[in-house]
Amino acid sequence: MKLRRRTLVAGCTLAMAIVAGALGGTTAASPGASGGTVVFGAEQEPPCLNGVLAGCNNTWTSWTVGISFPGLYEILPNGDLRPDLIDGEAKFTKKPFTVTYKIKQNANWSDGKPVTAQDVIFTLQTILNPKNDVAGRAGYEDIARARAINPKTLKLSFRKPYAAWKLLFGGQFGVLPKHALQGKDFNEVWNTNVNSQTTGKPIGSGPFILESYTKGQSMTMVRNPRFYGKRPQIDKLVFRFITNTDSEIQAIKGGEVDAIYPQPQLQLGDLRRTGGLKVLSSAGATYEHIDFNAGKKGFALARAPWFRQAFAYSIDRTALTKQLFGTLKPDLQPLQSLTYQNTQKQYQPHFGQYTYNPTKAGQIMTSKGCAKGGDGIFVCNGVRASVKYGTTAGNRLRELSQEIVQAQAKKSGIEVTIDNSPSRIFFPQVSNEDYQLALFAWVGSGDPSGITDIYSCGGESNWMGYCSKKVTDLLKAADQELDPAARVKLVNQAGKIMGLNVPSIPLYQKPTFLVYKSKLQGLADNPTSGGPLWNVENWSVSG
């Protein structure tokens, strides 16, 4: 009976809405026009709010609630790191390797307590506690000792030099409040709120703190009056979770949200032509690449660098990039490096020589004793140049890219057979080195420390069977080189060798799109892990 009554009520309200709408009675106020509220359409909902934990750690956790917890350094759109919670650059000694940070005097938690060196030490202890299911411990494990020199000064002593030290306690969820979390089971805090475990009130040190969270629907953040940086101009920031890109696009067109940061979709082209909207686009941190498997289960010819070079010459990466993103981001260039991205000043085009040249590809093959068969495909020492090319099934952009590569390679006498599988099968295959040619993406952090695992001999994420002692030595030396300029030199030397060895072919950086209403000001895309909210304190609403 109760259900029947509720159904009736629901039916009646629906009818009322139709009538009200038809009479023009319910024109919703534009969300951003209320003098300082911005409604942001988020494409994913955080699985839970404790972004330090592995299960909650995704980009949208960082970009939403993560802005409450700035780190010691923040990552800028060009990949550089800038002091955030600390006063100027940290000071370091090389032998022994120590780093001394001075936390900003005016850095306070939203409850009025100061952010101190003890908070950083607590964060370190939390990350290193084996009982906590944290997302990453890399680099933190190298810290031998953390000492508070005074409440605002912290000294870290390392067991060995760690070149990427600026990434530690950086980005979002950088420093945790000791007084608000101490004594609690870290795996069980901040599932659906980000409150102090002692007062039950929202806590944070960033420009906004979480006021309320309606799981599955939205998250409301309000200005933190005690933020140490520039006072945020907007009062409220609401994240509405709209996981379907088409719906996101309709929502911004129809004024239901003020800004979105969607995955690249052809429909985004329409938004560039829609009045009252602005679209910012950058080459993002996620880059697609083709890996050759030179290992035992790989393709025999792919073990020879000359074949990989010939393959690189047979792909027109410029045309490929144009074909995929010509409408959305006409100025997107192919990526020419496996070490840095072309938005970084350290970037050097190590793969620049591989312009589309089927003749050169053919010459290389012929010079190695290969001869074309009746079907136009090369045969080298009895091995047909026919390679299986896999990626994650259902990803339309990747599938389209495969078809283009297939057609291009055929012109150079290399047969490419598409062999895709769902991601749950594809990735285990790749990590077990059970593939021939694989197309997938890496997410760059801006710092080259991650590439050592990918390209060094026996690296944890080296699934290509690629091993160059020179590259390994250079990358390992770079990981311990504390002089930034010398480090860039080492990484680029390794990159240059990889440009000749071609263990993998970089294709392009996936573009990012920040779409927002023209009345919003101060937005700037940060295509790195910093994300679209990196400068939210500078946002304002006009009119």
Partner: protein, 322 residues
């Protein structure tokens, strides 16, 4: 009647047990749920071990099944693999959202579908009948995702051209509004309801037309007319009641299945219901919420089948329960 219901409920227990075992084995057979996390070089082995220990992932499947069953019964399905939020909290949040959508859509579809079906049957081979037949085939053929997008575009354009917000295109509520039974919620649910109802209207109208045609040509209807009963009375009291039985069967199964979530509709419109709950957990390979979802759906299908059986008795006095 009471004995019948009790007996059916008792039969449901072994059915649910069998379903739970099949669900657990088939989901577990897909592979190690930690395999994707293992690919992330940033996630330490220690963290993976902690999760494996907590969920007994290193034990054989039958042992894991017992642990899972115990957790499902004593701790309302426990927690997911990767996070510590209780599964039951999430389920009790999303089920009412789905119920609200499905009940409104199905009732609307039943009402319109039955009316169209009855009128088509009475006016067989009329212009209305041909039009309704064509429209229902169109409804059957229309992909849900396409219709959803078209409706979104239509109402967005309507808003842009008139400045009047009739319906919202996504979400359950506007910002700062959490009401469940209000105009705002109705404005948000209207397009998803339309999307879901179109297919069901097509389905119910066809069933109703066929069933009604069979009934109105039967002997007892001729007798009713011969007795001098008015045509509306013959149609509503004698023909409609009996003709409803196949529609009740189909709608009961539909209800049961849709409680599991109108996956496409809910996902497209960003409704926090059972559908997105299932899809999101499936994508993140969190098997525990997926298994809980499957159990809830199985239970709902059993319950709605029982409801259909009971309804037959009310519609057709010849059906008796023993």
């Amino acid at each position: 009647m009471f004995t019948f219901i009790l007996r059916r409920l008792l039969y449901s227990i072994p059915v649910l047990f069998a379903a739970s075992f099949l669900i657990f084995v088939s989901v577990s057979a897909v592979g190690n749920p930690l395999s994707e996390l293992r690919l992330n070089p940033l996630i330490s082995e220690q963290t993976l071990q902690n999760i494996a220990e907590r969920k007994h992932l290193d034990d054989p499947i039958p042992v894991r099944y017992v642990y899972w069953l115990k957790e499902a019964v004593t701790d309302k399905f426990g927690t997911p693999l990767f996070v510590q939020t209780p599964i039951w909290d999430d389920l009790t949040r999303v089920i009412p959202h789905t119920l609200q959508l499905v009940i409104v859509a199905e009732l609307l579809a039943l009402l319109i579908g039955i009316l169209i079906g009855v009128y088509s049957a009475i006016r067989q081979y009329s212009v209305f009948d041909y039009t309704a037949t064509m429209a229902s085939f169109l409804g059957f053929a229309m992909p849900v995702f396409w219709l959803a997008l078209m409706l979104q575009i239509l109402f967005t354009e309507l808003f842009l051209r008139t400045g009047t917000r009739v319906f919202y295109t996504s979400g359950l509520n506007s910002v700062d509004n959490t009401c469940t039974f209000c105009v705002d919620r109705a404005q948000h649910l209207a397009i998803p309801v339309m999307t879901l109802a179109v297919l069901s209207i097509a389905q119910y109208s066809r069933y109703m037309r066929a069933s009604m045609l069979e009934v109105i040509n039967s002997d007892y209807i001729r007798t009713a007319r011969a007795k001098g009963l008015s045509e509306p009375k013959v149609t509503v009291r004698h023909a409609l009641r009996n003709a409803l039985i196949p529609v009740v069967t189909v709608s009961a199964i539909n209800f049961g299945v849709l409680i599991g979530g109108a996956v496409i509709t809910e996902t497209i419109f960003g409704l926090d219901g059972m559908g997105p709950y299932f899809i999101n957990n499936l994508q993140s390979q969190d098997v525990y919420p997926v298994m809980a979802w499957l159990m809830i759906t199985a239970t709902m299908i059993i319950i709605f089948n029982l409801i259909a059986d009971i309804t037959y008795g009310f519609l057709d006095p010849r059906i008796r329960y023993e």
